[in-house]
């Protein structure tokens, strides 16, 4: 019993078909529980009013936007080192999900920023680096789309993912530098996690776990779709030959 046996698509399909309903069900439960708890059973913040409750969508999606990229990086490395197709397909499957989480984080951030900072958008380091992360996701997905041969596409996107990770990290700290460099450091720092009080913290934790499970469920589902699409293509190719 080793982790690597899931590199076998058949084994992966078996296990994931069994696990998917559980993961999806748990994520729905956690999300519903966390969001209802957060939205209706926590007090309004004395300064921010009820807008503070955007935190239950904003923080988990921002977190998962970054984690999705890390997962893609790990899956790409596994593909490059061990040539397991499931791994490459999982990386491909995760990219649109990560992009969606990035978009959710940006949009909820805007909705939060408008009443709090009085502006929809500011070139704050965090906002800027998230926008750049979104661009990286777009480039990665575009490369998958553009290359026809699936193995070539997997190789090229893996290399791009590795190089992109380094540059995404560089950009993250470069924008930090850029904003403090000329402008007055905007008072937009959102280090919420450290100073969130327990009233908000526990429902937030439930929401985060819900988002993690949601990501897992979506990746499993999309990877299964990709594997089926790959099988279909193999069948079609076989038919053409016959």
């Amino acid at each position: 019993m080793s982790f690597w046996e899931y590199a076998n698509p058949k084994k992966f399909m078996q296990t994931s078909s069994w696990a998917l309903p559980w993961v999806a069900g748990l994520s729905v439960l956690a999300l519903a529980g966390g969001l209802v708890w957060g939205f209706f059973f926590t007090p309004d913040d004395y300064k921010q009013g009820s807008t503070v409750k955007i935190i239950y969508l904003h923080v988990p999606s921002a977190m998962m936007a970054i984690n999705a990229w890390v997962m893609m990086l790990v899956a790409s490395l596994i593909w490059l080192v061990r040539r397991h197709h499931v791994s490459a397909l999982a990386a491909k499957a995760a990219a649109p999900i990560g992009l969606t989480f990035t978009a959710i984080a940006l949009v909820t951030g805007m909705m939060w920023g408008q009443p709090m900072w009085g502006t929809w958008w500011a070139w704050d380091p965090r906002l800027t680096s998230f926008l750049i992360l979104g661009l990286f996701y777009l480039g990665y997905m575009a490369l998958w789309q553009a290359v026809e041969d699936p193995d070539t596409a997997a190789d090229l996107t893996s290399v791009l993912c590795m190089v992109g990770s380094v540059f995404a990290l560089l950009s993250r700290y470069a924008v930090n530098f850029w904003n403090q460099g000329l402008h007055q450091g905007a008072s937009l720092s959102m280090d919420k996690e450290e100073n969130v009080s327990d009233v908000y913290w526990f429902p937030l934790l439930v929401c985060i776990s819900g988002f993690v499970l949601l990501f897992l469920a979506l990746v499993l589902m999309r990877t299964r779709t990709e594997i089926r699409a790959r099988r279909l293509q193999a069948l079609l190719a076989r038919e053409r030959l016959a």
């Binding site: 661009l135 480039g139 490369l143 470069a174 924008v175």
Partner: protein, 218 residues
């Protein structure tokens, strides 16, 4: 390797296109921005560092797809890949050739265009310094992007989409050096960081680019 460099330079100059086009584009950006923003010289002085860097970056982008595409089409890239020079070396040389025909002329032309944009006097030295330190990174990163997209027909647009996010750190530090230089502030830190990115990119990206070319030649 030197023969390869000379061959690439000759091709770039004689075949036309890339060599003059990038410079002309750079000139156009520097002319169009004041037309769009208005002739207020204090506004222009403020945005000049950013415009010059963005212009240099976009002009660099124009000729990127030529780094490998022509050699890929006529098969010379296969020959180069099987030649005794390591493919990483080929990539590095081709990036160097690209820099010599785009990055270097851009660096030399930038002070002239800076006059059009009313860059404050102390900024000129740092404009040239930052472009000298930063444009090699643009060429190497671009060579990596070109290596990724070499097998794709009409990959030019995709190439821009892949490469532009990778240009972000270089752009930020490069423009920062000029901005600070124009205000006669300390420029050491961003200049060092910019050079660091260039050094890292020049050292490591040829390996990634060579890996991508090997995949594309399979």
């Amino acid at each position: 390797m030197i023969a390869l460099l000379i061959r690439d330079l000759r091709l770039a100059i004689r075949a036309g296109g890339g060599f003059g086009l990038g410079l002309a584009f750079f000139l156009l950006v520097a002319v169009l921005v004041p037309l769009g923003v208005g002739p207020d010289s204090s506004v222009l002085a403020k945005i000049a560092p950013g415009i010059l860097w963005v212009g240099a970056l976009l002009s660099c982008l124009l000729s990127l797809d030529r780094i490998f595409a022509l050699d890929f089409e006529d098969g010379s890239l296969d020959l180069l890949a099987t030649s005794p020079i390591p493919l990483e070396g080929v990539v590095a040389i081709k990036a160097l050739a690209h820099w010599l025909v785009t990055g270097l002329p851009l660096t030399l032309a930038a002070p002239v265009l800076a006059v059009l944009l009313n860059l404050p006097t102390p900024g000129y030295v740092w404009l040239v310094a930052s472009l000298t330190a930063g444009t090699p990174a643009l060429s190497v990163i671009g060579a990596f992007g070109a290596a990724l997209t070499v097998g794709i027909k009409r990959g030019g647009l995709l190439l821009s989409l892949l490469v532009l996010p990778l240009y972000v750190p270089t752009l930020i530090f490069g423009a920062e050096v000029v901005k600070r230089g124009a205000l006669a502030m300390e420029v050491g830190v961003p200049l060092l960081l910019l050079s660091g990115i260039t050094a890292g990119a020049v050292a490591l990206l040829p390996f990634a680019a060579a890996a991508a070319i090997r995949v594309n030649l399979r």
